[in-house]
Subunit: 195 residues, 2 copies
């Protein structure tokens, strides 16, 4: 099942930072949280009574099983990765304002909406840009179960420009040719590449 997801992700059209802009929104496919997987995650990573079994959870303030917030966060990552499908991946730099306003219960069906808040070039890695985004995870009733702001490093589509050699007929762009050097975005537009 999970291998299928990775495979599906691999054959889907890959995105570069150039393919997203501020204000763009992406909605994931739905994903069901089973009781079995909720409990399995808790035993591995968050062994607290409201996550571990129906019986122990019934005696807590939640009056029943709820998913670990870190399980919701991990499922959100999976839906985000499948939906945005960045070429060479999205390298997480940091997360802020991670909140769980409502509990996730067994059987809940989650979807993630991603909104692009910012895109800027990386100062240290010219092949990459930093995207700033907001992920909102909702259940089948439209209740928000998680919100977060995140920054991730994603690849830029590399553009090539001809190298001036002084010889005629060398100006055409041929991908992969050693005659062409990579253009940095800052050189092309004079746009600020930092911070």
């Amino acid at each position: 099942m999970t291998h299928q997801c990775a495979l599906l992700s691999a054959v889907m059209k890959k995105r570069y930072c150039d393919d997203v802009k501020v204000g763009d929104r992406f909605k994931s496919e739905p994903l069901r949280v089973t009781e079995k997987k909720l409990i399995e995650f808790a035993h591995k990573f968050d062994p607290q009574m409201f996550h571990l079994s129906r019986k122990s959870a019934a005696r807590t303030v939640f009056k029943g099983l709820i998913a670990s917030g870190w399980h919701t966060a991990a499922l959100t990552m999976r839906l985000f990765v499948q939906t945005l499908s960045f070429a060479k991946g999205a390298i997480g730099l940091g997360v802020d304002k991670l909140r769980w306003p409502n509990a996730v219960r067994p059987g809940d069906v989650l979807t993630v909406e991603t909104k692009i808040l910012g895109v800027r070039l990386s100062r240290s890695r010219p092949r990459y840009a930093i995207i700033r985004l907001r992920n909102v995870t909702t259940n089948q009733s439209g209740e928000v179960v998680q919100t977060m702001l995140a920054s991730a490093m994603v690849r830029r589509r590399l553009r090539l420009r001809p190298v001036t050699t002084g010889r005629k007929g060398t100006g055409r762009v041929v991908r992969g040719s050693t005659r062409y050097e990579r253009m940095s975005h800052s050189k092309r537009t004079g746009r600020k590449t930092s911070p």
Copy 2:
């Protein structure tokens, strides 16, 4: 293994918010991240090439397998839960400044240090307090692989006081007796219970 952890956690002395104070530090036991578990987590939650296999990861900017940041976060939660072991659990309210300054590689051994930054009473749930904490996760070389600030709701130790009935000999404190009512911390100290 994970069941053992939950069991160990259950038989350990449980803490209440009253047992921690600002400035307290707690250090977890070490936990080894195996390649198998790193890859298993990635297939389920973060199917990107730098997490999925040695071969695919070798071609990335990381030049080898690294753990998903969400895997590091989940392992940090496990170590935190085992170390602090709050009675009735620690209910996560939110996380800020979650950062991954160095990658986690297969075979790395992680420990978590928790520092208590604040303890205040819950306005909406008098049986609970909100603790503010910082978790720093380091590898076997002392490199920081994750930092975060978090807020969690934890139980207060309920103190009982005698109910004045006007009858002689009813003033002794007996746990569990219906003759005694719960004292709220705010009543005892006049301390501000909000926000």
